[in-house]
Each structure stands twice: as structure tokens, then as C-alpha cells.
Point group: C3
Chain length 303, copies 3
């Protein structure tokens, strides 16, 4: 018994159909069982057990988690890890080779510190978290069940300076990064410490790879930030904001709760709660669609 | 005897002219010999030996490789490397200080594992490959003559979860990354493991720095992906696809063999084989050029 | 006595008002003293000491530097650092655990080499510089008072090859990266070595996180490059060029001294000195604003 994609699942496997683009793969699948919406159930091949769900991907996620629950790491402190004597590690932690843990660091129970990770002085990390290989953390407080991927950079100075022709004047960066519980931060993403206030990542937010989060940015709860997004300094997001890949947001803006920004949007003004925006400069998404349709029509090749 | 750019080459050096923007530098160059197309040969300074080629950059590449062939590394296992006893290393490998090699890893002959690299359990790497400093690999199979630059992240979980207001539900990521022979992957690029199927990088593909490749993405052979491109999950590329810098491609799309995407294109639909697309939303490149010309004309300042 | 943001400053703290968006926070602040422009001074709460400045952020930067001057690191060579016997370190250096320093490296006085940093053979670094955790440097010469953030990649091969259907032909990369004094380079930024000439970062330039700088690129003095910018190979910037986030610049272009590129601009031609450009393809900024206004007007929803 296992979970498997439609194309490779066999009679012992559970699969799912969520995206209508894969209906043909569903109709041809050898999966023994499949989670599917009522709308597509009729296309099932003979003999397939159907688990009909209104939200098949969510149902599959829960099922797959049952097959593959997060396991606490096998506790072990690698001899080559450099752990400051003042650091405190909770029970059941695993520290892999080459990890460096600075003075006064506090780490909760069953947390995994990956190989060659660097954790700066005074950092605090909660229970059941994972810090991926080669990540570096400083000036931050990290909650429980946080998943930080390899190469993430948290807590370095933000891009703060007063421009000056005789030499830009660096502004000391004094704040922290607060990462609440159940957050996921993708590979090689960078999150700068606050300049004075803190940078905050709200509970349950999911951040993809190669995202840039500037100093003093605040994310509410449950935000979803796709790869290569850039959030400029001091911008605030409400809860459950969703941003597609490569979105850029200017500094000192407010993005309301539940707002959705289409991929590659360039946001130069506040976005009201619950609104979908797209384009550059970003506008309400229907307006953006009208803009692209208008431009397409006006520039049509004369026949 | 050496190779050198036009501006600094001396009488003992071989240089090349490929880009017409540098014809003046060619005319003033002191290079003893130069690879050049017939069209520009007449501008050569007196006394310069000319190697006339239809494709000067290709000819220069071959000549420069003769001057600077890839050398196998000097074999050595650094004492500070942490190598699991179950790992197998082929003859002539070099493992630099601080590298961490996990259980059941298999590495071919003459492969270089850079300083502070982290290779997770079960990874396999072929002959004559190079893993740059501080890179991390997990859940992947890497071919021969693969060049992975510093800070690359391969094989971490993809951005897979079912969004849910009560807490997004992470979907276990179960696939691998398959990297075929002769691939080059630029610094700090991220390639996620498949969610169920594998993520695949076809033989001879060249990927630049800071590129994001999502789970289940498939690249064919010989693709060229310039810096900061983002490929969303489950998108498939044929062979010899070329993408300029900062292109973004939505998920679950098919980009046909030989397709070319201009820099900064935002691709929201399938691209047929052999076609050149540009703009956002991306359209055939001539259509995009008409769009930008139309908008420029319509918004011309009244005199 | 400390510096603090308007919202959290108390009677012992010095704060500043620079952005008019925060006038209400200024009017309600409990800061004992505040740097402010004459235009906003009248909104100060009773009892606040005012330091009136024409350029409040610059004045605050200088004041904050007085409170938080850069301290030389506490000198120490970690026992787990792997330092080649031929490397030379100046007095007062600090080398943190897991750092790897190659043959013939030369490092000036009071320079900090962070944990798990990798410095390749022959690299030179000046006095009072800082190399952040997990960064890697090769084929480069770094000046004094340079601040390199965690995860930065400097000196790896650029994206140089001759495309060929029978297998792209890699062009040996032979140049260096020259980083002049007082430069700041943000987390996970990548700067490739020159292909033959050098890649150059001029004195006093500030580069943000996740920026890509291709081979042979030259930055003049005092340039400001915001996060996720991509500069293609062989492009030259004059002095004091400013680029907003996510700008992309094609290769072999000249961007004149004092030019400013708005965020997300896509630059396909030379930009004259002192000019502000925006949009994609980038045009003079007023022209771009007319373009977006025109498109907005033409696509307005009929009522």
C-alpha cells in the first residue's frame, strides 16, 4: 500500500485527480483507489475504488500524511558539530556534522539541525523544527514545527543605508526576525532582520524557494508566497495573502487579508483585502485582463 | 601562448570576434591571432593572423578548451570531511574539507566534492563530476561530467500542500531529481525533488545561477536556462529549449522542442515546438514586438 | 539612550521621521528626541526634542552609527577551521568554525571569516572586511571594509558556452572578480568571474540579496542594486547607477553614470547618463508612465 501519481500507480496504490488536465491519465490509470471529485468520477477505469471528495487535493494531502508522517529525527549530536557550551538543546535533537551553534542558542525538543548549518548567538528555535543543510540563522526567534530548507538565510542585515555621493551611510540594523509556528521557508530564500522593528512571518505561512523578504516586512497567518517573489522593506501582509511566482511588492505598502496577486505582478500601491490583482503596475485582475486583451486587439496584424 | 580578450591580448595570444559591437576593439587589438567571420576579416589590424570561421564563438570555445582542458582533481580525502562508512567513492575522487557524505552514497571516479558540501543519504553521482562548495544534494541521481556550482540546492521538498484556512496541509514529497550527463547547474540554483514522479534535467542542459525548478519539472536534452528563470511545478520542456533571464513559466505546461522564450517572458500557455515567444502574457515574439510598438505609438507625447 | 523606531521609542530614545507615510506615528511617538525635516516639525508631540535636518535619514544613519559603530571582531581562530599552511592572515582576524581557507590566500587585518565559509586558492581580502556564514569565494580580489553577507557566491565560472546541437561547448572562464573597498553584497547574491576580462564591483557599491551579476560586468562607484536584479554578461554601469528590485539588463549594454532604473524594468538598450528609465522594454520613465496611463484609459470598462 502506498500513494502514487496516476501514471505510475499500481493496484496497491492510492492516487488522486485534482487538475482536469490529467483526466486522461485518470481514465488510463491502474491505481487501485483514487480520490476524485464527483464531476470526474464517471471517467474512472473499471475496478478502481473511488473516494469522492469535494476537494480531492486536500483529501490526498491528509491521506499521504498518514502514509508518510513526519518522523522525529534519530537523536544524535555529530562529533564534528561546533556547539557553544552555553547553548541549550532540548531532548531528542539531532545535530548533523559540521553544524555550528553559537552562544546562548536555545533549541527545543526533537529539532533537527542539518549538516553545515550555522546558528548565530542568541537564536531560539522551538520544538519539532527542521533546519536544512547549509542554512544560516542569526538575530531570530523561530517557532515550533517550522521547516527551513537548505541554504535559507535568516537574520542578516537588511538593505538599509542613506544614499550619499561621498559614500552611502549604512544604517545599523537592530531588529530581529520572528518566525511563528508551522511556517515553511523554501531553499535559498532570504529574510532580513528588522531595522528597528522586527521582521515577522505569521504562523502557518508557506514560503517557496529564492524569495526575498526585506527588513520590517510582516506576513500575517497562512500566507502563501511562491518562488522568486520579492517583498520590499516595511510592507505588511494580512492573513492568507497569496502571491504567485516572481511578484514584486514595493516598500511600505499594505496588502490586505485574503488578497491574491497573480504571478509576475508588480505592486506599487496598497491592495485592499480580498482583492485579486495582477500586471505591472498591478491593478484589479479583471482590469489587467482587459488591458492585455485591449493591447492584443489594437496591435493585431492587419490582414 | 594563451587565449585572451581583444582588448588585452598580446602578440602571443589568440582572441576572437563574435559580437559586431566589438569590431572597433578588434580593429585596435594587438592579438597575434584572431578567430573571426569572413564578414569582419577586412577590419583586422596589420600583422594579425586570422582564423576565419562561420561560427567564431564555437571555434574559440574549442580552441580555449585545448588551452584549458578540464583536469581531473588531485585525489585527496580531507580529514575533516564526514563520510559515512557505507558510502562508496570511486578511484581518484577528491573530497574537500568539511564535506558531509551520508549513508549509502555512491560516487564515481575522479569526481570532486567541494568544501562544506552536504550530500544526503542514498544520493548517486557519476564519474568526472564536480560539486561546488557549500552545495547540498539529497534525493537525487546525478550523471557523469555534471558541473554543479556553489550553493546549489537539489532534492529538497517541493512547494506542495493543500491550502486550507485551518492550516495548509503539506503533501509528502516522494520523488527524486534525475540529472543526466553533461549538465551544468549555476550557483544558488534550486531544483526540488518530484512530488511522486521525478524532476528530470536532460543530458547536456545548461542552467545558470539563481534559477528555480519546481517539482516534477522535466527538461529535455540541451536546454539553456538563463539566470533567475522560474519553472513552476510539472511543466515539461522538450529538447533544446532556450529561456532568457527572469522568464517565468506557469505549472503543468508543455514547452515544445526548440522553443525560445525571450528574457522576462511570462508564460501562461503551452508553447509549440520551434516557436519564439516573448512578453507577458507571452505571445509569439512578432506579436509581442507589435504590442510594444503599438503601445509606444499610442502613448506618444502630443507635440 | 538608544535609537528606536517611532512606534516603540521611549523618552530615552532618538528616532527619525523620513517618510511622510509615518507622520501620524511621529505625532503619537513617545521618543525623547527625533530627527525630522522642517516641513514636519510642527506635528511633533509636546515635549519631544527636535533635531531638524534637510535629510533626516542621512542624519539618523550617522547618529545610529555613533550608537552602533562597527566593532572589530574578537580575534580567534576556531580549531575546526581548515586553513592551508600557505595562507596568510593579518593581525586581529577571526576565523569561525568550519571555515575553509585555501592555498596562498591573503587576508588583511581585523577581517572576520564566518562559520562554514569557503575561500578558494589565491583569493585576497583586505582589512576590516566581513565574510558572512556559508559564503564561498574563489578567483577574486576583495578590498577593505567589504561586507559580504551569508550565502554569497563569488568567482565561480560564468554562463559561457557556444551552443551546439551536438553538445554545448563550455568556454573556459579565465578572469577574476575585483571587489573594491566599502562594498556591501547581500545574502545569496551570485557574482561570476570574468570570462577573460574581470568582473568588477566599484568602490562603495551596495548590492542587495539574490542579485545575479554575470561575467565581465563592471559596476562603477557607489551603485545601488536592489534585490533580485539580474545583470547579463559584459554590461557596464557608470558610477551611482540605481536599480530597483527585479530589474533585468541584457548583455553588452552601457548604463550611464547616475542612471536610475525603476523596479522590474527590462533593459534592452543603452541607458544614457543621468536618465531614469522604466518598463519593459525600458524607456524613459515619463514615456513609461504615459504608456501605462494610455493602456489603462484604452481598456477602461464601458459604463
Amino acid at each position: 500500500m502506498d500513494v502514487a501519481p496516476l501514471q505510475s500507480a499500481s493496484a496497491d496504490d492510492l492516487s488522486f485527480l485534482d487538475n482536469a488536465a490529467y483526466v486522461e491519465a485518470f481514465a488510463a490509470s491502474r491505481a487501485g483507489a483514487c480520490i476524485v471529485s464527483a464531476a470526474h468520477a464517471a471517467r474512472a477505469p473499471a475496478g478502481m475504488a473511488l473516494l469522492v471528495s469535494e476537494r480531492p487535493y486536500r483529501a490526498y494531502a491528509r491521506a499521504a500524511q498518514t502514509f508518510y508522517p513526519r518522523q522525529p529525527p534519530e537523536p544524535k549530536i555529530a562529533p564534528s558539530a561546533a556547539i557553544d557550551p552555553s547553548a541549550q538543546l532540548g531532548p531528542g535533537c539531532r545535530v548533523e556534522p559540521g553544524a555550528v551553534i553559537g552562544a546562548d542558542v536555545v533549541i527545543g525538543a526533537r529539532t533537527l539541525i542539518g549538516a553545515n548549518v550555522v546558528i548565530g548567538p542568541g537564536v531560539s528555535i522551538g520544538d519539532d523544527s527542521t533546519i536544512g543543510a547549509c542554512a544560516s540563522l542569526s538575530h531570530c526567534i523561530v517557532g515550533a514545527r517550522v521547516l527551513i530548507y537548505p541554504g535559507v538565510r535568516i537574520g542578516q542585515d537588511g538593505f538599509g543605508f542613506a544614499p550619499d555621493p561621498s559614500g552611502h551611510i549604512k544604517v545599523p540594523q537592530l531588529g530581529r526576525v520572528m518566525i511563528h509556528d508551522d511556517v515553511e521557508i523554501g531553499a535559498n530564500t532570504t529574510i532580513d532582520r528588522g531595522s528597528g522593528p522586527d521582521t515577522v512571518i505569521g504562523a502557518g505561512s508557506f514560503i517557496d524557494n529564492l524569495v526575498q523578504i526585506g527588513h520590517n516586512v510582516v506576513l500575517g497567518r497562512g500566507c502563501v508566497i511562491v518562488a522568486q517573489v520579492g517583498l520590499s522593506g516595511s510592507t505588511k501582509l494580512g492573513d492568507f495573502v497569496v502571491m504567485g511566482g516572481q511578484v514584486g511588492v514595493a516598500g511600505h505598502l499594505n496588502i490586505g487579508t485574503g488578497a491574491k496577486l497573480a504571478a509576475k505582478a508588480g505592486v506599487t500601491r496598497d491592495v485592499p483585502p480580498g482583492q485579486a490583482y495582477g500586471g505591472f503596475p498591478a491593478v484589479p485582475i479583471r482590469e489587467w485582463h482587459r488591458q492585455t486583451a485591449t493591447l492584443s486587439k489594437l496591435s493585431r496584424k492587419p490582414r
